[in-house]
Symmetry: C2
Subunit: 343 residues, 2 copies
């Protein structure tokens, strides 16, 4: 059974299988897909033939014919950041379980790269896109091309678009309240952006903790930083060098927390005796250092899985209203927080 395909060195197609099994392509297709009738004996013969030829159907061609898509596009900011990597991991596992392949791209923070990746996804006819958006345009663009979009971690068009997020406001309020409750008054917030829902809501939660405690919040303690460790370290060094330095710092994410940690080391400040530290986002190093760093822990893998679930919900109910799924977080209480020395 030497087929032409084998001789020519090209991949066998269904035509090769059909010829070798001496049936038509129609029958071969029905035998292999299991859709439509075919005599049991014939089906067996076709399947065996496919097996021996090493035939693997071209699912791209199949999908084209069936006018369906079995892949999803995933677009995150930076795979080297463990938060996004975990997210991708959750999405990957969950989507493969449903028989969908994952196309992954990262935009390394560039709005242009983000849009370019979105265009690629449209051209690839993915069934949907899960992304951590950098701009409002990208979701709009994909929506215009009728591609379901799930925003994860942050949202641009709150309530207009499906999203999977955590309750940033509540979590920020919770950890800030704890600090205030143990006697801290000068609690600084180190933050790198307030344009996204993440930053905005964390700021709001921080402020409402002061309000709830009846303590006036000092806006000078809301410190803006660049987004990388070096920038945060420098800003934190300045903040912690002032005579009336805060007694506690709430870092709005794990990168900023790393900057604060390093700055405290640089200045010889002891944690928590001289300064308490809380991080939004947990990270592996926070349990390695002494003392451990108290952190708001998001389960990024679960976030990814929930995004996939929402995506399929959307695909099955195209007309249902936009939904925002909120996942809970946990606060990992560690040694970096304690009552202030002066209290």
């Amino acid at each position: 059974m030497k087929t032409e395909a084998a001789t020519a060195g090209r991949r066998p197609t269904i035509k090769d299988v059909a010829e070798a099994a001496e049936v038509s392509r129609s029958t071969a297709s029905r035998a292999l897909t299991g859709r439509g009738y075919v005599a049991p004996a014939v089906r067996e013969r076709v399947r065996r033939t496919a097996q021996t030829l090493g035939y693997v159907p071209d699912v791209l061609a199949r999908n084209l014919r069936q006018q369906v898509s079995r892949s999803i596009g995933v677009l995150v900011s930076d795979l080297r950041n463990s938060f996004y990597a975990d997210l991708a991991s959750g999405i990957s596992r969950q989507s493969r379980q449903r028989g969908y392949a994952m196309m992954l791209a990262d935009d390394h923070g560039s709005v242009a790269a983000e849009l370019e990746a979105a265009e690629t996804f449209v051209a690839l006819r993915v069934a949907g896109v899960i992304l951590t958006p950098l701009s409002a345009e990208v979701s709009e663009y994909l929506g215009r091309h009728q591609i379901p979009v799930i925003e994860v971690d942050r949202q641009f068009a709150e309530g207009k678009q499906d999203a999977v997020v955590v309750d940033n406001r509540a979590a920020a309020e919770r950890v800030t309240s704890r600090l205030l409750g143990t006697g801290h008054r000068r609690v600084a917030l180190l933050i790198d952006e307030m344009d996204w829902t993440t930053g905005r809501d964390r700021l709001v939660g921080y402020r409402s903790a002061f309000h709830a405690a009846g303590i006036p919040a000092d806006d000078a303690l809301v410190i803006r930083s660049g987004w990388d460790v070096g920038a945060a370290q420098e800003v934190a060094r300045g903040l912690l060098s002032t005579p009336d330095r805060p007694t506690a710092v709430f870092a709005a994410n794990n990168v900023l927390a790393e900057g604060v940690w390093r700055a405290a080391q640089d200045l010889g400040l002891r944690i928590p005796e001289d300064i308490s530290l809380v991080s939004f986002d947990d990270a592996p190093w926070m349990t390695m250092v002494r003392p451990g760093v108290t952190a708001v822990a998001q389960d990024a893998v679960a976030l990814g899985e929930a995004a996939v679930a929402q995506m399929f919900h959307r695909i099955e109910n195209p007309a249902s209203p936009a939904r925002t799924v909120m996942l809970s977080v946990s606060v990992e209480q560690r040694g970096s927080t304690a009552p202030p020395a002066t209290a």
Copy 2:
């Protein structure tokens, strides 16, 4: 210019563009792809029409017709491990730059999942696959289907298959030699596998350092551990509790190093006074803890980029002999290593 596509709510095809621009599909195609002749005025009209219709060509259909593939498959062990995430990041960036989309899957250590993912890649007709192999079968399987394979980090068929790795032997010898050179005699190797080239070569390097120094190696100091932090921590706790405990531990990867670090903390052992520690693989936490951990640093992003380069080399030179690319590593000397107390 209300097209049928717009009215029906389906995506515009080249047929819609052609009709709206009042040309044939052939001409529309030539105008949009730039291949083949078309009158300048006509080309402009077609392009404008496509623009206003929001036409995005289906690249899957195009690739089917052209019998080419513009995607690569990537298969790693676990995206949540920063080494693999960095690898994927390098591959992603480099492949998009060449106009290829990346399909990503992770096998979470399961040989069955690995093979399943490989089958999906064949069905998807990827141009090639880059993977961190778990078994010899997967590369064989892909090879049988004429899909170029690049093995990264570890190899199964050394010299028979393209690969991008680091010189594990040389690096392991280098760090072990340094320990011996500063007076250590009882240097343990903590290792989780010796079936892959990674583990095997690190062991060989460790041993040849002893040989080169003329010091007899004690095989009882080669300690086998499970692959996760908990297992390593337990094994290390046993090792460090013995009366004749080693004066230095060389952990064969970053997960094992974390286990050793935690075990030392558990036992109240000071690093480096009581025990020196070296890790193969750097990790963020190693610069956060005090003292920092001396590590062999592999640039995983660069590894990924090199794998993509090798993949395109292979695609362009299908018959060229298998090539193993070896990337250099650096040794990050930090505070966790010092001469032994008794020296």
